[in-house]
Symmetry: C2
Subunit: 358 residues, 2 copies
């Protein structure tokens, strides 16, 4: 497989035809159920906490060696079927020159919130070169990973917009919703800019060699399906169109949106724990009745990992069984690993999933 880089050079993409993650993402049945965990590279791991003790989140995301090491940690420890690039949703905004910081215990804080058409016009663009450290990290990762696929990562335009408009994490997204409805022209201009930026970021990762991407719309679940389809999905579709690698699309609390998230251009739709996978497959099939059998990712409740392992095992078996209704199933959590999770439990889940019939 080949693809063009920004400079027009055509580089060889590594082929991993047997990788269970890529087989499942393609809608076929691999010889074992592939499994990875959102936030597998993170605070549940003591080796991560040691490594991050002396660095800020943003500086870590732009340090290729550190990104490589953090991304590798859960692959080595758990034997998961994919690595997910260690990054943060606001990385491309920061790289473009938006003044923001990630404050421990709070999250991203934006110095000058975006609330008017002039703010949108003044948003900087992202040059692919500005995320060179991320591409460099991918370059370090590929030989380390061997046959294990690397998933690239970006936040979706709606989620980025909410950070920019609210000035930080928001529970109710009220300024975001007020803007999208009161001033749809400014809203669409903003989302269009953010779609370009997100697409540039993902293309840079793809050019550097990631094997798949996950578009993370953390907060899309705060929207009604009507608003999502009209005001958000077209911009996510612009990001996802024809990227050339499998595209995973996920948000938490998106039971009402699964069909719309599929038709926005996802090959794989992530499902949280609120909707069983067989029901998710029904919703995804209804959204694209002439399309291929849906491929799903998820849906173990991250909180379950804190219960007794007998409970974890029962849930894992149920999810793998329900996942057989899909064209392909990538086992994952329904949201990120919680920091208090015992990493040994994660390792045991990987072993359990690998021992079950796909």
């Amino acid at each position: 497989m080949t693809h063009a880089t920004d400079s027009g050079a055509v580089i060889a993409r590594r082929a991993l035809p047997g990788a269970p993650l890529l087989v499942a993402a393609g809608g076929a049945r691999p010889d074992r159920v592939p499994v990875w965990f959102m936030r597998q590279a993170g605070r549940s791991l003591p080796e991560y906490r040691r490594l991050r003790a002396s660095s800020s989140m943003l500086s870590a995301c732009f340090d290729p060696a550190l990104v490589c090491e953090i991304t590798m940690q859960p692959v080595r420890r758990h034997g998961v079927d994919a690595a997910i690039l260690f990054s943060d949703i606001v990385v491309p905004l920061y790289a473009a020159g938006v003044s923001l910081d990630i404050v421990p215990g709070t999250g991203p804080v934006v110095a000058s919130p975006v609330r008017a058409a002039t703010d949108v016009a003044n948003l900087p663009e992202l040059a692919a070169g500005a995320v060179r450290p991320v591409a460099d990290a991918i370059g370090l990762l590929l030989p380390e990973l061997g046959e294990v696929p690397l998933i690239g990562f970006a936040g979706a335009p709606f989620t980025l917009a909410s950070y920019l408009i609210e000035g930080g994490p928001s529970r109710h997204h009220e300024r975001t919703k007020a803007l999208m409805h009161s001033d749809p022209r400014t809203w669409h201009a903003l989302l269009d800019r953010l779609a370009d930026l997100t697409r540039t970021f993902l293309q840079a990762q793809i050019a550097a060699g990631v094997d798949a991407v996950q578009l993370f719309d953390s907060w899309a679940g705060a929207l009604s399906e009507r608003d999502y389809r009209e005001l958000v999905a077209p911009h996510s579709a612009k990001v996802l169109a024809g990227l050339g690698v499998p595209r995973i699309h996920f948000g938490v609390g998106t039971g009402e949106l699964l069909g719309a998230m599929r038709t926005a251009g996802a090959d794989v739709v992530g499902v949280d724990w609120r909707v069983p996978l067989d029901e998710a497959v029904r919703r995804l099939s209804a959204a694209l009745p002439d399309g291929p059998a849906p491929v799903v990712q998820g849906n173990l409740d991250p909180a379950i990992l804190l219960a007794d392992f007998a409970v974890v095992e029962r849930e894992v078996r149920r999810i793998v069984a329900e996942g057989r209704a899909a064209g392909g199933h990538i086992f994952n959590l329904g949201h990120g690993v919680l920091p208090d999770t015992d990493p040994d439990v994660i390792t045991r889940v990987v072993e359990l999933v690998h021992g079950l019939e796909p």
Copy 2:
């Protein structure tokens, strides 16, 4: 209508046969769509902020004159079709003797979290006399309210359990979920105790004269339908059984749970903004196919009140139109009033709803 008080005395319940809220709750069509707002008595009102400047939340909830005045404020200002008793979810726990405080900016904080069978056994019971100030407040309110119904209020067992187990507000409810799955015996013992406490609290309010009740399961939306039906709904059903007044049952993010929340014993099911009312009616009908036409409450997104009024008006008209699919519709938000809401917008929504054909 009559009912027995705790002392065995039978007192007359006031009859409000023409009150639009009660007509709609009974599944009939009143001459106007009744409207009230969750958290209508609260921080959006300057007169509330003035009144609360010098009191803690808990002391306010046990001051009959203050509860009466705060409960009346939105009725006077907005002309809503119902008052909702000013209270807090943890009031019956505090009244029973659980050591807790409501910390501004954080929420309820429980001194000794409940995590083992002995903790459950040591939970104090609620004597109806311990919530006498709440009953006294209701006694003050009824003559003030005249023909406007008063809705009583309690948090549901699951939501109370989460506060007790986590020790405060929780985003992921991980200890709660771990306990419910790992130790279902302790879980059910805890929920049973909390159901008794909640029922006692609601019965005290009913004995004092409230015209309806709302059971608020703030966080039920964090559960899958399977877990909700098995581990939570039976306890909410125990609370709601045969209370003798219309029962409203609400939680945010409960699109997957609407049917189960109805069959737990609700006359009216609250719907947030993620599911349109006509779709909610379909789900509620499917849950009880031989039952009466469902009655719904909701579903304006509270964030919409911060948008231009043209947007608010469009949404209100759509919701009232979609609500005609129900046996009865009580207009409300899909969650509580946000503190930054302009109270004049709320008043305009009331006028708008009242001018629309039911």
